[in-house]
Amino acid sequence: MSIATVFEIVLAAVVLGLGIWTIVVRETFSATVGFVAYGLLVALIWVRLDAVDVALTEAAIGGGLGGVLLLGAAARLRDADVMAAETPGKVVRASAAALSVLTTAALAGAVLLLPDPAPTLAPAAVANAWATGLSNSVTNVLMAFRAMDTMLEKVVLLLAIIGVWSLAPDSAWGGRPGPRHQADPDGVLAFLARLLPPVGIVVGIYILWTGADHPGGAFQGGAILASMWLLTIIAGLADTPPVSRRWLRFILVAGPCLFLVVGLVGLLFGAAFLSYPPALAKPLILGIEVAMILTIAATLGLLLAGAPERSAKP
């Protein structure tokens, strides 16, 4: 047994244990911490499976931003821990467990019986990379072969923002989301919020840029930029912008908007909707990705900030 195998077995056991612990533990806060750790370890599994793009996304969303969101929710719920009061009876819990085990077993059986090597479109994606000039297959799939899905997913993000904003009280509509954070200006949080963002911004942009040929891309880069922005907001160094600002609205639609315009130009003058002329493919895709990283960073940041709750005037 090689060291790598031992590592994999330990990793799998820890992930399973954390998963069970997250479900079993009673306090919302502990469950959240367990879930964040679980997300980070799942990212490690993706690395082991050579799916670095997925790993980056899982770490950024499952471990990072999702964790921040859940911790915030857990903090708000701490005063009224409703979960503990409504625990279902033993029979219900036992049957739920039994059914879940059965479903998992069926799923595991189906996965184990999948053909090996699995049928895959990866060679086809590699063979057609000439059309875009980018060598990261994941980016090619997202931006060229299945560009429609990616564009619509960005619209889903926008709808999520509208959903969160629609929870605002009418009096605060157009105002600033979330509470105004106050932190000790000489404390460690403010220090970190001054130290990390320059580094984080460079890393985020690098991940976007390298996404053309290596693992990375707009979503992962955007998540890093969003976390830097949030850090400065939580440290009280910056405030969330009022949601009625026109520039903010522009940033929030920039990605899907540019995508749609390129698509429609392709429909009118090119081969098809969302097709790129091979000579211009790389600059066009990079342009869309630059717009997307801004959109994604702003969207994720605002999703975490919450509904508008303060009037725009200071």
């Binding site: 059914l99 059965l102 053909p115 049928p119 299945r146 629609s166 157009g174």
Partner: protein, 592 residues
């Protein structure tokens, strides 16, 4: 790796660009309205709606001329690497129904969601979400790839959930959260199934997949997971815990969209999965189970509808029953070799979906007008409302008549088709359920009309002005549903020519009288509220005869209500979801 496959229709057809536009134009509207903001949102919506209406009309007109479906290859990439959009007859019917309902609802909502300076939040969200729902539904109807359908489902969910809590009352927030959580559970199950299918067959394109799929563990597990996930999103009994509070709590225009259209999105994907991707996998037992759930939904939904105090809740529970009706087509479509046939049963099911979309939206709109006029929607407080709001009550009545299957409504044609197949295949028990469904529908429509048409000793005062354009929008939509049976369906659906022939025969009279008379009896027996004629002398004689029956029926009703409140708790609903997934898997395994 599988041998390089050729897709039979891997070329863009001449008018295929219409399919792209039917998605891209509403999406462009969403983006534009979001940037321009509060004051311009409604204007953007009213610019986009006619354009999309024209695109859909062109699609429907072009389709019969082209041989086979309209196809568009996105980015000029052929499946399986790329994604294709395809529109067949089923897509055309649903595209058209959606366009009609959205247009009518937008006329209805003009006044309610006026972007004023005082309260711009709700109009901003409503108009953008309306366009988003339209784009999402069009994507579902023309999407040719299971992952594209997943993205469209997500779009639909995220556009539909905020509509529930537009007016911001705490109970609507709770309903919206319930809806969001259950719908996301459904999405996850669907995605899991799609991933399994890709892992086994290396494609998610519907046409390619249908030629590769076989009865194997991966496809059976995937089918079971996807079906139960989609059933949760469609709110088929017993997975309906989220529907009544969400549909009854939303503003009237939003309820019309949620009840008329949004549940049809996931229903349509179920149809695509079973009739096109894997028609050979479902088998006899699983189709019977699907329809049995449908029958249970009809009984539960109708009995509960008759016991509601508020009109909007009654309509929401009626949606529950009507969703059940949609699933009766599955066992009827099964041919002798255990293969789901895209024949008359499917046509009947889809026609029922289109009729319900139009009629139910009209009902919610009429209920909204009544609520706006009276300031409440208690059914027992509706006496005399027909005198002050005649158009609203008329719209409700026409929609109700269309829904209970009176000729020439779409529901009647659908029922004829399904009854015919039930006779041909010898499945008489589903014929009974089909007839019972019509009678139950008549029962709650008659109940509401009896109260609305009853004279009132007090004069009814309106708190808000009656709005004629709103009522006319509802009425036109209701008339659409009533006249759907006269539409020439042959280019789109396999509907035989002679099915609309005898409009004015004795059969028509029977078809009118059976549900209405049966409905009156059921309404008297099952509704616990005082009857509008309860004080008259003749009624007292009738009561003496009916009383023992009524007591038994009411006991049955309260039993159903108690059962429902158990099923509508989270643990029970989640357990039902898992049980259904396992049951479907097991039944399909036995069948193959």
């Amino acid at each position: 790796m599988l041998p390089p496959a050729t897709v039979p229709d891997a070329v863009t057809t001449s008018c295929g660009f219409l399919l792209v536009l039917s998605i891209a134009v509403p999406v462009a509207g969403v983006l534009l309205a979001f940037v321009l903001g509060d004051r311009w949102v409604r204007l953007v919506a009213f610019t986009i709606i006619p354009i999309v209406l024209a695109i859909v009309a062109a699609t429907v007109l072009v389709l019969p001329q082209s041989k086979g479906p309209l196809v568009y290859l996105l980015g000029a990439w052929t499946p399986p690497l790329g994604v294709a959009l395809r529109a067949d007859g089923l897509s055309a019917v649903m595209l058209a129904a959606t366009a009609v309902v959205i247009s009518a609802v937008s006329v209805f909502a003009v006044a309610d969601f006026r972007p004023t300076a005082a309260e711009p939040r709700a109009p901003f969200a409503f108009w953008i979400l309306l366009l988003a729902i339209w784009g999402a539904l069009n994507t579902i109807f023309v999407g040719g790839d299971l992952f594209t359908l997943y993205v469209a489902l997500e779009l639909l969910t995220f556009a539909a959930v905020p509509l529930v809590s537009l007016d911001g009352r705490p109970e609507t927030l709770q309903a919206a959260l319930r809806y969001l959580l259950f719908a996301l559970l459904g999405s996850v199950l669907y995605l899991l199934g799609a991933a399994l299918l890709y892992g086994r067959y290396g494609t998610l394109d519907i046409v390619l997949l249908s030629s590769r799929i076989g009865a194997e563990p991966a496809s059976l597990v995937a089918a079971a997971l996807m079906t139960s996930g989609l059933l949760a999103k469609t709110a088929l009994f017993p997975l309906h815990l989220w529907l009544p509070p969400a549909h009854a709590g939303a503003p009237a225009a939003a309820s019309a969209i949620l009840s008329g259209l949004v549940v049809k999105g996931s229903f349509f994907i179920i149809v695509r999965l079973w009739f096109q991707v894997m028609p050979g996998l479902l088998g006899f037992a699983a189709t019977q189970l699907l329809a049995a759930l449908g029958a249970a939904a009809i009984v539960f939904g109708s009995v509960l509808a008759l016991r509601q105090e508020r009109l909007k809740l009654l309509i929401a529970y009626s949606t529950l029953a009507q969703i059940g009706y949609l699933f009766l087509m599955f066992p009827l479509a099964l041919d002798a070799s255990g293969y789901l046939e895209s024949g008359e049963a499917l046509a009947g099911g889809l026609l029922q979906a289109a009729s319900h979309a139009t009629a139910k939206a009209a009902m919610f709109m009429a209920a909204g007008s009544i609520y706006a006029g009276l300031g409440h929607d208690r059914i027992t407080g509706l006496h005399g409302v027909a005198r002050v709001l005649p158009l609203s009550v008329l719209a409700f009545a026409v929609a109700g008549i269309a829904l209970m299957g009176v000729q020439p409504s779409g529901a009647s044609l659908a029922k004829d088709l399904l009854l015919q197949v039930a006779t041909e295949t010898g499945q008489w028990w589903w014929a009974v359920v089909l007839q019972a469904g019509g009678i139950f529908t008549a029962a709650y429509v008659v109940l509401v009309l009896a109260h609305a048409l009853a004279s009132s000793d007090k004069s009814v005062t309106l708190i808000g002005p009656a709005s004629r354009p709103r009522d006319i929008a509802a009425l036109i939509l209701a008339l659409c549903s009533l006249l759907l049976g006269l539409v020439p369906w042959e280019p789109f659906l396999p509907v035989p020519y002679d099915s609309t022939s005898s409009l004015f025969g004795p059969g028509t009279l029977f078809k009118l009288l059976l549900p209405v008379l049966g409905g009156v009896v059921l309404a008297i027996l099952l509704s616990p509220w005082p009857h509008p004629l309860a004080s008259s002398a003749r009624w007292k004689v009738a009561t003496r005869v009916l009383d023992p029956f009524r007591r038994i029926s009411l006991a049955f009703g309260s039993l159903v209500e108690r059962g429902n409140s158990v099923l509508c708790e989270w643990p029970a609903a989640s357990i039902s979801l898992l049980v259904l997934a396992l049951l479907f898997g097991a039944l399909m395994l036995v069948a193959t």
